[in-house]
Amino acid sequence: MSFVYEKLFGDKKGMVGFCILAALILVVFPLFLDSFRLNLVGKYLTYAFAAVSLVLLWGYGGTLSLGQGIFFGIGGYAMAMFLKLEASSPENTAIQSTPGIPDFMDWNQLTELPMFWMPFNSFTFTIIAVLVVPTIFAYIIGAAMFKRRVGGVYFAIITQVISVILTVLIVGQQGLTGGINGITDLRTLNGWDITSDSAKNLFYFINCFLLLGVIIASRFILTSKFGRLLLAMRDKEDRVRFSGYDVANFKIFIFCFAAMISAIGGAMFTLQVGFMSPSFVGIVPSIEMVIFAAIGGRMSLIGAVYGTLLINFGKTAFSESFPELWLFLMGGLFIAVVMFFPNGLAGLWEDYGHHITKRFAFLKRFFAKGKIESTSVDGKLEGAN
């Protein structure tokens, strides 16, 4: 039992951190935020999937992908295609010259649904597509690159170029993809109104549970031998190779896994926000996902979630009042995080958090004399840092 527990949550500190995060997003936010703000947090939390994926890929694996937007986008578009087809029933689109196809296709003089849209009439297919298409795509990229020992800076650039290609393609093929505006006006899921507050609240909780599930799955990977191998590869790739491991396979697996969880985030984004557009696929969103992970701490799964929330709260607050300051601040954050605190918020917590814990422990001792064990446990934890 304790084996399973350790596998899923790491040490005691990991468990506490996980529970605090769960309480924050499952209890505190829903209690204190109105429906609009909660939906906004839900949107931010979909980016956290990508940030968590970068902790695995970049923090532990040492492979920086500047293309997580690709997978976020594929997931989001797959879901949006399904919802759009449902919204484009012949009855809803009777005024179009070709009823029954999405409106943007009609505007672009298409007269029938393109082949690759057909399967997205099925919800089951869509769910499978959200999970499988990005994984296959990542496998192709990963196999081509990692088998040829391409990594580091080259990998970052190639993934960035692929995200540019995908964005240009989506924008250019307006009739097939909805172009720059994306796929909009998504209203129902199997007849159920997804724009209602109750639906949005439900999606928020589904999103939270999926995110927590992804964190647990990632913990499982990181605490297994696989996780230690990732770190070992990051630091001494040749030694791992000459210990009989096919390094490329491990990198491909983690890249595919990272792609899949980013895609889950994308699909949840579409469901909660009600549209998908190329502005969530290209260079800028992809690199923003990296800064979310970097601010939270590239080695901390939970930190990545806080990093995402913090930056997005900041972005919303700033772009409401001082839009021009935001880019300066963002740029400054990029520079500060790599130069002064490369381990992000989680690193700061590791370095300075024990001061706070100590003060807390002192208070606890003050109020509940006799509970000496608790302080000694804290002392031990500090020693382990």
Partner: protein, 307 residues
């Protein structure tokens, strides 16, 4: 291509080819700077496009000032603005190296993020200073117009001027890197930093000037850029990806590779643009590059070295 006669096709290729030469010039100048910085120092400069924009804005500024205060000087200002663009971008690069890059030499991925941050700051500075609208300098008359070579082919003069500038710069870079004692020091530092330091080369100084030179050349690319398009705060971002592809595709340490790759990318892009939409031309060009690089990740002109 069925609808065109052979004569027409020939003219189309020639015209698009000349249009491609301007793109080639800008890409090559950008890539030269980037290749020096990346190939020699292993630093990824995501703000390279913004240094180009710095050069373009410098040209715009000098043009506006000349027009307002000394209109008689208008025919000549452009030549001076190229030098000014080089200096402004170079000095900015020098400062960036001093403040930022030198602390990150052993962490290439972090340099990438830090320079991205720098590019955001520079973009926003341009927006605050020059406004979000795109601007263009008033070009001197002699740069305008075209020379009619045949009745179907016009050669744009600005393109030829920019090509001349590019050839000159390329030769100067070649001389500097491969024939001068300074270049020898740069290459020595690249190959063995410790040893270079031990034989008395000030490697820190070499790094700083190399970075400044790369950025300065990007500034010249910016001056050249003003002759073919207008400049906005995000202009640099549009070119950075293509420039990276030029450098990677050419093989990072090869000057000849960089030239060949800039030429083929610019021409492919430009000629395809006539037959399919601009965005699809870009998709095809980039996709082809990515696929080639997946089979030949070291680029086209990398040499086999003993590891």
């Amino acid at each position: 291509m069925g609808g065109y006669s052979y004569d027409e096709l020939g003219a189309i290729f020639a015209m698009q080819g000349f249009a491609g030469i301007s793109l080639f010039s800008v890409l090559l100048l950008m890539a030269l700077g980037l290749a020096i910085i990346f190939g020699q120092m292993g630093v990824i400069n995501m703000a390279h496009g913004e240094f180009m924009a710095a050069g373009a804005y410098t040209t715009y500024l000098i043009s506006s000032l000349t027009e307002t205060y000394i209109p008689a000087f208008m025919p000549y200002y452009f030549v001076f603005s190229i030098v000014a663009a080089f200096l402004v971008a170079g000095i900015l690069g020098y400062l960036a190296e001093f403040v930022l890059i030198r602390h990150l030499y052993k962490r290439p991925l972090d340099t990438l993020l830090a320079t991205w941050g720098l590019s955001l700051i520079m973009q926003q500075s341009y927006r605050s200073i020059f406004g979000a609208r795109e601007v263009s300098p008033t070009l001197p008359d002699w740069l305008m117009g075209a020379y009619p070579a045949t009745d179907m082919i016009d050669i744009p003069i600005n393109g030829m001027f920019v090509l001349g500038l590019t050839i000159f710069t390329t030769l100067a870079v070649f001389y500097l890197m491969f024939k001068s004692s300074w270049g020898l020091r740069v290459r020595a530092t690249t190959q063995n930093r410790l040893m270079a330091g031990a034989v008395g080369i000030n490697t820190k100084k070499v790094d700083r000037y190399t970075f400044a030179l790369g950025c300065g050349i990007a500034g010249m690319a910016g001056a050249a850029f003003t002759t073919i398009a207008s400049t906005g705060p995000t202009t640099g971002t549009l070119y950075i990806v293509d420039t990276f592809m030029v450098v990677v595709f050419g093989g990072a340490a090869s000057l000849f590779g960089t030239i060949a790759s800039a030429f083929s990318i610019a021409q492919a892009q430009s000629i395809l643009e006539f037959f399919i939409s601009g965005s699809m031309a870009k998709v095809f060009t980039l996709l082809t590059l990515v696929i080639i690089l997946m089979f030949k990740p070291e680029g086209l002109f990398a040499s086999k070295v003993r590891r």
